[in-house]
């Protein structure tokens, strides 16, 4: 995405497609059409990220932003098919909304481009920390700069991000369907009713075929992360995708029990342990240098992937699990 590369026809058309699908999603009549258009928007956005030279973000957008979020929306929209009881949404309101949105967007865009245009301090030195970051990556035991930044240079950010996921998972545990709440002993819908009507055999067959493949893909994503785009988050999301497929198709039955809660805790606990280790061995929290840094990072990524998968699955169960 260097300043010289001018915009080719591909980027321009993708940008236009993004704007159009976004408008369509926002002003759709029914929830289902809204969700489906949202999926289309996600696909376009992932391609756009890839085209402008941010493969990691593209992968993350595809797996997390579109995959898991799409599944959450899709399932919740089907479970609660109440149509968007918006006033039939006269055309005038939609036009006004679009015009207002475009106006604000244009204003924001104008000011932002004006601010971005002025090179900092006018000096020629490159913008941002690219130079310093790429120089420091070899010391992190990982080749791929993004993973180096995420799991070493700014590993504290990633730790706090895992705490955000933990928070979401805690809310999921609190709102888990009664019978599943592992820690609470109150009675609730009998376990069998949880399974729900079994999906048609075709789907069950497909899922039992695809699940191992996706698992393999998740593992590959994890290990590729140290040298090329990939990493714990994308792998975790793929893991969550497998869990959601298994749950919805009725092939297996997941519930937020003590086992899942244990998985939820593991990731953050491991990260803090590594942090403490860094303090004890080195002299700063999360210090990870030296020859075994790479292996520790990979091990940590595995645990993180499992926790991310479990957290997203827990959120799915709490929001999409059948209650009554």
């Amino acid at each position: 995405m260097s300043p010289e590369t001018t915009v080719g026809p591909l980027q321009l058309s993708l940008a236009l497609a993004l704007i159009v699908t976004a408008a369509a999603t926002l002003y759709s009549r029914h929830r289902l059409t809204g969700v489906v258009l949202f999926l289309v928007f996600g696909v376009f956005l992932s391609i756009y990220w890839g085209v402008i030279g941010a493969p990691d973000v593209a992968l993350a957008e595809a797996v997390i932003g579109t995959g898991v979020t799409g599944a959450l929306f899709g399932y919740t929209a089907t479970v609660m098919p109440r149509p968007a009881h918006d006033r039939r949404g006269s055309i005038a309101r939609t036009i006004a909304g679009l015009a207002g949105g475009a106006g604000i967007g244009a204003g924001l865009g104008y000011f932002l481009t004006r601010a971005a245009a002025a090179p900092p301090g006018g000096s020629g030195e490159p913008v941002g920390l690219t130079g310093q970051a790429t120089a420091a990556v070899p010391a992190t035991g990982v080749e791929h700069p993004i993973t180096g930044v995420l799991l070493n240079l700014r590993s504290y950010d990633t730790l706090m991000e895992m705490v955000v996921l933990l928070s979401a998972a805690t809310v999921a545990v609190a709102f888990a369907p009664r019978s599943d709440a592992g820690s609470s002993t109150r009675g609730g819908a009998p376990a069998s009713e949880q399974r729900g009507p079994a999906a048609p055999p075709i789907v069950r067959g497909f899922v039992s075929l695809v699940a191992p493949v996706v698992l393999l893909f998740a593992a590959w994503l994890l290990f590729a992360g140290s040298t090329q785009p990939g990493g714990a988050f994308q792998a975790g999301a793929a893991l969550a995708a497998v869990m959601i497929l298994v749950q919805t198709s009725g092939v297996g039955r997941l519930r937020i029990g003590p086992a899942m809660i244990c998985l939820l805790l593991l990731g953050v606990l491991a990260f803090i342990a590594v942090g403490l280790g860094g303090l004890v061995l080195g002299d700063a929290w999360l210090l990870l240098r030296g020859e075994h840094a790479g292996t520790v990072t990979i091990a940590l990524e595995c645990i993180l992937a499992v926790t991310i998968g479990a957290s997203l699955a827990a959120v799915f169960l709490a929001s999409a699990g059948r209650r009554r």
């Binding site: 260097s2 001018t6 940008a15 993004l18 976004a22 971005a116 809310v171």
Partner: protein, 111 residues
Amino acid sequence: MIELSVASLTLWTGALLTGLALVRLLTVEDLIARLIALNLTGGGTLLILVGLAARTEPVDPVPQALALTGIVITVAFTGVGLILVRAVDDDERPSRSADGRAHGHDEEANA
């Protein structure tokens, strides 16, 4: 073709997206449509973030890491949002079917 760098195209797309989604977010009633608009705003903001910050040839890894973190945080918030939508629906659904005093109930809910 108009002389436009990729960075400013990303910036403009992000800005337009955020504008559209924010206006819709503030006007729509349906909770799921609101969460979708929230996600779009998130996507737009991340486009702005990367568009603003990454103007070197090998895209600057730091903003990419920030964008990645942003995506994960957005999914966390969307998940919690959907759990709450479900909880709101459970609060209001039984009373509607039970004795139809959903209307009275709605006032009390958001009093």
